[in-house]
Symmetry: C3
Subunit: 131 residues, 3 copies
């Protein structure tokens, strides 16, 4: 038996805005919920420039993964939902800056809109270190 | 060896409309295909209100997971594709009602349209009980 | 310990266009990055008909999975992002042709656009044979 599902709850990222956990962990796999550009204190950056939104959303995802026991290098897959594919190059540059040597599988998926007018949402699957 | 991939086929959810399985199972992980608001008998609720569509799509996902050996509490991640982010609060309330104490990781992804004019599609990854 | 994350790099599919790997592999699971209709030599088929784009994108996904040790029959889940749900029947027919007896879980997700004007993107999770 691989054991029970754990749920991640960290103050280093915004509290869930609905009926979901920040992340679930099972058998070494960490599933991080979709993250928007909200600061851990709840402040929404939905009117800030794309770059700032991308950094905050990725920071939230990385903070939740860290609380679950994974660093950037432990991500298997990241999925990025973006309003306007024109943001692709800017997102990729910020992603490279924040992930460094780590290169997970990735998909960038354009969407018509996001909640509260945000421009980017990120989610991912990572591996608990030592799992 | 973790063994072969199993495929779920249950009459408690609509038969696949194309070349895919209702779900696959491997090493305790259950991947449930995207579910729309079609009744198990094939009746499409694509002209019904959003709430009814959300309940049927989630019921299909839960029925397929149950056939694979997982309950609502065994979901690791649910991804929700919705036509119109304005449906977010209504979807979240229905999700809370149907998942109860269970809180998987989740992402809600707006899309411009869905097949046959449906308003919501859900998919998920769950864990077989006892895996 | 299930070991380190491996990264797939094969000349049988286009090189990553950004900061990501073609696929990651961990504990028998292969996560293939979103694939567009680019030939392995880098030629973009973004102005070709939908059917040709679908075949190339799927061929890329299958080539990367093969390099990671998985065939079509080893896919757990495929996610398809398509510009225009009207392409659903054509995509399903091509998918059936290329996957043969194999039926993974699947979701087809309409999007408003894709990078460089492509019409379809595919990604998937597969199992390394013998894992």
């Amino acid at each position: 038996m691989a054991g029970d599902i754990e749920r991640v709850a960290t103050g280093d990222a915004p509290a869930p805005a609905g009926h979901y956990a920040q992340a679930t962990v099972w058998d070494g796999l960490i599933f991080v919920s979709g993250q928007l550009a909200t600061r851990p204190d709840g402040t929404r950056l939905n009117h800030q420039p794309f770059a700032e939104q991308a950094r905050q959303a990725l920071a939230n995802m990385l903070a939740i993964a860290a609380a679950g026991g994974a660093g950037a290098e432990d991500f298997l897959k990241v999925t990025v939902y973006v309003v306007g594919i024109a943001h692709w190059p800017e997102f990729n540059a910020i992603f490279a800056e924040m992930f460094g040597e780590a290169r997970p599988a990735r998909a960038i998926v354009p969407v018509p809109e996001l909640h509260h007018g945000f421009l980017v949402e990120v989610e991912g699957v990572a591996v608990r270190r030592g799992a």
